[in-house]
Amino acid sequence: MTGPSLDDFVEMPDEVDDETAEQLADQATETQDMTGEVCPYPQVEAKKAIQSLDSGDLLVQETDHVPSTENVPRAVGDDADARVWRSGSGLYRIFLRKR
């Protein structure tokens, strides 16, 4: 890590297609319904959940808050690999696999 640099200006989690999203949702160890929630609660809840999971476990957050798709992955940082699914109608799933 080099600390703040302009490279992380646009860092976005990888997006997954509809099919992959369905498969991942079935593998979820824990699912959090974060619809209707705004920052920073999805971040706080994701951090808490990741701390209690085992390595390789998958946490899924369902959210309708656009910024969460970027700042939830940022909040868990190196603790998990993040991927995001966008439904195209304002609903998103954030997949966090604990490292």
Partner: protein, 400 residues
Amino acid sequence: MVSNVLTALVVGVGLGVFLQKGRFCFVHAFRDFFAFKDSRVTKAVLVATTLTMVFWSIAYALGYYQGFWTPGWGLTGLVGGFIFGVGMTYAGGCASGTLYRAGQGYLHFWLTLAFMGVGYAVFTVLFPTLESAYFEPFTVGEGVTLFEVSPVPAPVLALGVAGLVLLTYATLVGRSATGGAGGADDATGDSTAVRADGGRRTSGLGASTPVVGLRQFVAGTRAYVRGFAEIDDWKAASKRPWDPRTAALGITALAVLWFTQVSIVGVTGPEARWTGYLLQQVGVDVGGFEYWGSVLFQGQGVGLTVDMIMIAAVILGAFVAAVWSGDFSVRVPKRRRVPNAVVGGFMMGAGSRLAPGCNIGNIYSGLAELSVHSFIATVGIVAGVYAMTHWIYRDVGCAI
């Protein structure tokens, strides 16, 4: 007047689009920096404010401007700013964030807006008392912008400040890039920078750190510009989230247009006027209240003003952008978050009047016009965000 209304629509809709597409959020800019050292949006805010300052200083020097907003400075900025900062962190959106998310379909932020209105109304009722008990003792000096009192021309001053901002940024980036090589983790990057000279001497790279940072800055900017050349499908690209820097550039351009035609960009002032205007429609004698009648509407009668149209257009612009991106939906808040919208909204409404000014009036426009009041109010707002962030993250901890 007609051209001003047109300008208001263009600027408002444009701001709504850029705010929504760039997820340009002042709470995120400070909260996530304190909590996770996530500085992406902080940088976007810095870019927008610094660029706006440079362009406004040029417009001012050439005489193409309509006036500054410079309230008297003193402790009011700290007190009101702090209340506003706590409120916006608790509500989950700043004054501008609340507007664009209202357009995106969040009922949470419509509720926040409504309770900001309650805050404005309560403040207005208490205004005669507050004037003698709060504003008079707490105001130290006349409001002023450094553009007007500076012995050097405003653009020179602005470029100097912009240069300092860039140098500070380059030093921080350069220091964490060179100092972090020894295996230190990310979290120590900035704290060593804060420890001032110690880190510089031990690393022996003091002179070169700003250069390293500047190189990164140039490389990052080049990569950003190149990014546009790599877009082959502009329609698909426009639907994806935009780089916050693109939002910063767009907001700057619109702010320059607004500054030359109407005024500085503000949000809560026009909202407080909206509150008065709407109450007038349901039969309240709004003009009879000193704050609405003689301060906000300046004795010219309670009616629609161009800045009111502009901020309403922000909601419209955000709606259009959200529908275009597939990000629009009516979002119903969880019941346990209702207090956030209610209490946070009220604190934002009341705090923005006590400061006076919100994140846009003070952090964005106020810093960009180098208003003395806004430096103090910015400190107050950021302190409020800092305190509230630590409270909200008390279970998981904050980085700084």
